[in-house]
Subunit: 341 residues, 4 copies
């Protein structure tokens, strides 16, 4: 069965998912698109064999040709679109963040609970990265003992000179590690603290960059996450989990070693696509395969909510300079404790 996908939002990430479904993955086809920018929607559709342009997201969701919905619109629109798709009984892939507030996430969860079956997968693609999967395998096989702490670094070469705020370092960048460590350790995050090291003179005006985000897991594991969006030298995501009898760390990703000019040198990725392109592919293939099979997989709406709740606490910690507890209601039994992926 080929899954007929309707894509809401055809900006950079939406177009990239369309390319993926069309040119890389198996089992999916893009049959409908929608965007707040109708002209852009038309241009994207024109390059596809047979895709309808819908003037609203609701129209796309209601289209009987659409088996499943991929939401890549901007964050504030996610809630309404995800709820509508769920109410229409259609599987949804929703880019992160699930929604822009914990409460909005809870309303999506309510819709899914009402539907009575999992319909939504959140786009936390790091769970599909070969590096993190190998890290999780090393943790889960028990040979290096229980995890005690984790060091993360998340470095982007640069951000746009205007419009990127210090808060976005938390909500856009750190949200990846927030979901990742919940998945990696199978535990919730109970508190967040933000530290502000010396500011880089290379950072855009007004941006406090880098930051250190401290996350405390329910079982005591402490995560320190260096977030540095003006790191200049490349896109570098690093991680080391320290366990009771050993550690496991992401390895460098370069394919070759060049020896020249008194150095041996390997490549650092240029950007996040370069680094995580395979994870995006695997993530979306998993979604298509699950949809075709009538099942669901990957990060749940509850994971989306949990990330939002921790992000909220981290933003409060950034504002106040204080350690901030995460407000988490009880998890509905509907959602698994241990992440499936």
């Amino acid at each position: 069965m080929t899954v007929r996908v309707g894509v809401i939002g055809v900006g950079m990430i939406g177009q990239d998912h369309i390319r993926r479904i069309t040119q890389v993955l198996t089992g999916g086809t893009v049959v409908a698109v929608n965007d707040v920018d109708a002209a852009r929607a038309g241009q994207v559709a024109a390059a596809l064999p047979a895709a309808t342009v819908h003037s609203t997201a609701h129209e796309l969701i209601a289209d009987p040709q659409v088996d499943a919905v991929l939401i890549a619109s901007w964050g504030p629109a996610h809630e309404e679109q995800a709820v509508a798709a769920i109410e229409a009984g259609k599987p949804v892939f929703c880019e992160k963040p699930l929604a822009t507030s914990p409460d909005a996430c809870l309303r999506i969860i309510d819709a899914e609970l009402a539907a009575g079956r999992r319909l939504l997968q959140v786009g936390f693609m790091r769970r599909y990265d070969a590096g993190y999967l190998a890290m999780k395998a090393a943790l889960d096989d028990g040979s290096i003992g229980a995890p005690l702490l984790m060091h993360c670094a998340h470095r982007n070469p640069s951000v746009p000179p205007y419009g990127f705020s210090t808060e976005m370092i938390i909500s856009d960048s750190a949200v990846h590690e927030i979901d990742l460590v919940r998945w990696l350790f199978g535990e919730d995050i109970v508190a967040a603290t933000v530290l502000t090291p010396r500011r880089s003179s290379q950072a855009p005006d007004g941006l406090q960059d880098p930051l250190i985000l401290l996350l405390e897991m329910a079982n005591g594991v402490l995560v320190d996450d260096e977030l540095f969006v003006s790191a200049r030298y490349g896109y570098d995501v690093r991680g080391e989990v320290v366990c009771e009898s050993g550690t496991v760390a992401l390895a460098d990703v370069g394919e070759v070693t060049v020896r020249a000019y008194n150095q041996h040198r390997g490549r650092v990725p240029a950007d996040w696509r370069d680094r995580f392109i395979r994870a995006y592919d695997t993530e979306l293939q998993d979604w298509l395969t699950a949809v075709a099979a009538g099942t669901a997989t990957g990060p749940t709406a509850w994971d989306g909510f949990a990330a939002a709740a921790v992000t909220d606490a981290a933003l409060a910690a950034l504002r106040t300079g204080q350690r901030t507890l995460v407000a988490m209601p009880d998890r509905p039994d509907f959602y698994p404790k241990a992440p499936v992926r």
Copy 2:
């Protein structure tokens, strides 16, 4: 357009390509299968949505539902099947070796010349490996100067205890490097020599393992290729090109570094699938995409012939202990000098 593929030969490698077309790649579907073992063909077809079983390769080739032919039968059958597919005007992907003798390869070339257009791609998948592609990019950008020599190692953990001969170390293993260096340097191989180091006591009875194969390129570049099929510790393919002002080498491929028991450790692949699975995917996707576009790409029949001619010389060198010249006729202008891929 979805390319409707007929697969001849559904042993291990044929089944793996069927899995790839069906579950991993985009743009292809398997509509017909054939195998000398009819029962096996039936079992494989039964697991596919709609695949016809043909009792002969010729019948499969003639099937109007079959747009393109994938040959994964045993080597001695390749010539007849490839020629038939070319004469039927159908694109062919032929697993390596193209055929089991240089002369047989030349007859396939004659068929393609008669057809007047490229129809055949040979399955030399290393050209699609991210490591070798990065190596070639480093060579081609000129920053480390002209290549002078190359060190290769090709290590398999083990071979079956019976039925694997010393000759097969050349014809089955070394053939990968033989094609690779022609592609990497854009030059032909003019001579081969085989050296016999101390034999491993772990090698099956009668097997001279390891070997060193020396290949001389037309421009003087000297390649030494260690071939060791009883290496036990893993599947390890290594390569370093030494140039006039630097070198480029394949990096290790492990995803994580584990620190335990006074060591830091990374993974060595378990087998060739583990190491090259992505290269196989890319190779076959390229073929499907080219077929759908009515074009051809990848290693040509001439490349298949050249590999066979060098293999022949290397086998003679193994028998005689002497440096042996490669007998190469002039390349028809039909085939490009510089490999497209």
Copy 3:
């Protein structure tokens, strides 16, 4: 000129320095020893060509055959011995810590100020490690910009099952990083915070292990230092300085890579001697050379005081769970701001 050294304290570290002076370094000879355990002093002296055993440290210091004094006694004795040696006008090498309280350190400083010339070098040997020296060179050459933060890890395989307290993780282990970052960045530490991750079940009863120590430098550079004395897998000291346009990190130290059992593996040092033996050699050679030349080098008494003041603040932070400011008086002009070594 051969420097005639008197050694006070001939336990493990004292004996190691004697071996160093006697069998490894040039320009020194051990002519006198003293220890609270007179029998041990006698045994050590018996193995030396011509060393006098003194019954008190004061007697050793007063011995006209003794050109210079090496203090390797236990910490509480350092103050009195160092002051006595300085008052006798003799150069002193004093193992870390300089003394067990900031005030005691200040009294040593007063003695040195009264002497009017530098006589004392503190045994912070990491400043002499090839790795840290290369790190400092990379920082100082300016090519990766100003430092913003540093990640450290200091892992010991184990500590004795009894008698090693959580406080000692600060005073014995972290003191190395405390001095190191002052030297590396040429800045003072202004505040300390201690975090307590999940406790290792492998740690001795009552020990909170690991810890994270946060150090804030006067210029805003933030240092996080993972201290883990039950790390089991080896002695592993790691460090990465994140700068405005790049980072510099200690590399692994193994001499060879072994490939076996599907892994490539390098060595992690077994203990601190294995890791830092060369740094100890260089440190003491520098001292002997300076003494012979009538000059002084290396970490000063002021560096010893600063380390004690920061250690004090870190211990308070450990007790209270609060960020604690470091109480630092003005530095006498007598001592250089930028560390000489």
Copy 4:
């Protein structure tokens, strides 16, 4: 006891050994020097506390103040000087090559046999390198099985534009690997072959650079040694021994990893002193310690002869293009089969 050393030949290497004895090592002092350039001998002696300048090597050897002789003169003078020192009953450290022909080496051996005790150590310093020592330990512990073959590379950034001949690539560069593999495997070399890859356009006029030297050990182990003296990018010595169940390779030697400009980078040594300075220190300290103890250690005169015999065969192989057997008489029982160091 301090060993009083007389140094014959105070060019670059002689001066470096004097610096080593005087400023780095323990247990030695330089009391006499001689050089064919008397002015240079005078200058060097002037910088030493108390060194006599002798007008001839024989006079220096006869000087009763000289306990032991270090020969760092040019190769053709070694034979006469080494024989004279042995006949005087004085321990000798002789820089490599022991002498410039196998026959000359045999005459030194005759002198030592006549003396009836080992007096001479040859300066093959690679046996003292931490990397090769770790490699030998990994081989000797048996965990990766019996050795089968070895890949070596010996790359210098450049040689002087005039006066360095292709033969010197064998006699000056390859001689290090020739001795090394005899030591590493405890076996003699029975044959040599020289291959000539594409010549680097960066090599001085008339120099065939790089070369590949193939060495066959008595037990069948095959060594390929890439020799490249115009490698430009640095001084890089590499080695990997392939064994029956694993391999062991020299690791990179850089102290830190710098991340900048989309790369992670480590250092390649600038020259042989940078790479092997510690090995030189250890080598000469071992000699001084052995001399002081009245014993002998390290590479023997027989090792010096064996290296000369293999060098001779390799030079013949270079001239003729043919595999050349090594002419080796029976080893006198006086010399150990298995190298002591």
